[in-house]
Structure formats: structure tokens, C-alpha cells
Amino acid sequence: MTVESIGHNETRQYKTELIQQLLNEFQHDFPLSATPYADIASKLGVTEQTVIDLLSELNDQKILSRVGAVFRPNRVGASTLAAMAVPEHKLEEVADIISSYPAVNHNYEREHHFNLWFVATAENVEQLNAILADMEQKTEIRILSLPMEKDYHIDLGFPLQLIQGGHHD
């Protein structure tokens, strides 16, 4: 079965189920083998090409963030979660400044007195501190740096429910 042949009404449900399986059952233990997509395909009972085509389609639709590794924070380089209390009228300007740093990979506006939250990553602690100091100087706003001290999460991915009224596992 190919992706081209899917899309008719009778097969749409099947395709959604296949996508749900792909997204839920392979968030960890993606094969470290010569042919990982073929390995997945044999577990799902479809062809390798179907798996590759489906993942490519999901990737094009931005439903996939990526297929790949999740790295443990603070193992590769140094990082911190930083918070700023930015006056409302300056929020956009300050957010743009913060986002412009390549060291920043997540930047969120949140509902709190501390309303700007971002993750900054650098190759080492000295570099990270220098970047934060530079940000404070540019924005004239103090930064709370809250680096991770301990990770309690057992990361097996996140259960998704795609099918309305469908099972959730």
C-alpha cells in the first residue's frame, strides 16, 4: 500500500490510525540499525516506502518536529531557563532582542509578573553567563537564571490522541 492509494474515504481512517501508531509507538526506541524505517514498517505490517512517505508527508505538514535524538539538557554544553519581568509596553522590543540571540532556542511569553521565559544554551558556563550579562545590559532588565539542578522526568515521549473518541494509550 502506498500513500498515493490512501486518502479515499475508506482508507482515511486507516491512514489516521497508522499515523497515530507511528507518532505514539516510536517516540522512543527508534531503531539504531542500517534500515530503521524498514524495521518500523515490519512492526506495523506496511512497506518501508509507506513509512518513509508518511513521515515525509508529516514532516512537510510540520506535524513532525523531526525524527531523531532527544539530548539530555546540560550534558551537551550548558543551559539555563531564564525569566524576565518586562513592562508590558516594552515586551515586544525586549522579546525581539532576546530571540535574536542564536543561543536562545525557546522563548515564551507567559502570564505572570515574570512574563518572558527563555532557554539559553552555550558551549560552557562562562559563555552562558557572558550572554546573559550582555542581554541584561542591552535590555536593562534583570534576568533570573534558573538552571536545572535535577531532572526527575522519565522521558518516554508524550501520549497523543488523534482520533476523536478513539482509544488513548
Binding site: H28, F71, T80, A95, E123, L144, Y152, F158
Partner: protein, 169 residues
């Protein structure tokens, strides 16, 4: 604003070739029949070396998991609440593990307090399709913690200002 030594890098566990592999794979594995071969060719390495090194990084925790990483936001999980908790120091290890094991918690970290304005030392990221679903899940955590919860807040994101994958050089 200083980053504590706790956030120090542990780069001694990986070498320059590991770093190259991380850099080549962090935006995702190719959606081709032999993705690890492609990475090996790109780095002028033997594919078995790439597979072995990735397995080693998995074993020592530098890679948490390898998998299909969905874009939760695109799949309808549009609400994310960063729940923050004030937990007695002597209980945080035990309770952190309890919260970190919940399947709706995607990150669970201990972070430093910043008194007086920031008394929260446990962060648990909760995702849901709606605002109410997140509130409900946070209530589940509160019930689990009971009297050991000395105060908590949910910081909802009102805007994603920047979100990219981990970047290192």
C-alpha cells in the same frame, strides 16, 4: 544572575567525533532508507562507528531517546502550562520523581529558588488541548502532593516567540 556550577557541562563524556554526530543529527535524521549511512558518509565515518557511538550516548544518558518527535502544537496540544511548585527541600527528591513519572508531564526539573520573588523549586510542564485540560491535570498534581505543596502557580504561555531545536556547534 549567575549560573551555578551545578549546570556545568559534562563534556568529558563525549569526544569530538560524538560532537560531530550530535551536530549532524540534531535537526533530524534523513528520511531515507539508510539514514545512519548518510550521516556516516557526511562525516566520513564508518556506519558501525556512528551506530556504536549513538548507542553509547543512549546508554550513558547523553541521548535520552531516539524517536519520532511530533510537533504537539500542530497536533492540537495548543495549551502548555508551566506548573511551578514550592516543595520542602527534604521532600523534593521523592516528590519530584512522583511528578516526573506522570505521563502528562513532559519536563520535571528541580531549579533554584530566587527569594523573595521566586519561591518555586519544582517545575513540571503540562500539555493539553485546552486551557481547562491543563488546569485539571495540575489539580491532579496538587492532590498528589497534598500538604507538601507550599504553593504553586500555572504559567500559561500566551505566545511562542521562538522555538528551535537544540543547537550546538
Amino acid at each position: 544572575m549567575t549560573v551555578k556550577p551545578l549546570a556545568m557541562t559534562e563534556t568529558s563524556e563525549i569526544d569530538a567525533i560524538d560532537r560531530q554526530i550530535i551536530a549532524a543529527t540534531q535537526s533530524g535524521l534523513p528520511l531515507s532508507r539508510n539514514p545512519y549511512h548518510d550521516i556516516a558518509r557526511q562525516l566520513d565515518l564508518d556506519v558501525n562507528d556512528v551506530l556504536q557511538r549513538m548507542q553509547n550516548m543512549l546508554d550513558n544518558g547523553i541521548i535520552r531517546r531516539i524517536g519520532v518527535i511530533p510537533n504537539h502544537y500542530k497536533l492540537g496540544y495548543k495549551s502548555n502550562g508551566m506548573s511551578v511548585w514550592n516543595i520542602p527541600e527534604e521532600k523534593i527528591s521523592q516528590l519530584g520523581k512522583l511528578v516526573g513519572a506522570l505521563d502528562f508531564v513532559s519536563h520535571c526539573y528541580q531549579r533554584p529558588r530566587f527569594l523573595p520573588e521566586w519561591p518555586y523549586n519544582l517545575f513540571a510542564m503540562v500539555h493539553g488541548k485546552t486551557h481547562d485540560e491543563v488546569i485539571e491535570k495540575v489539580a491532579t498534581i496538587a492532590a498528589l502532593l497534598g500538604d507538601d505543596n507550599r504553593g504553586h502557580k500555572i504559567l500559561f504561555s500566551t505566545k511562542i516567540l521562538k522555538k528551535t531545536g537544540l543547537r550546538i556547534r
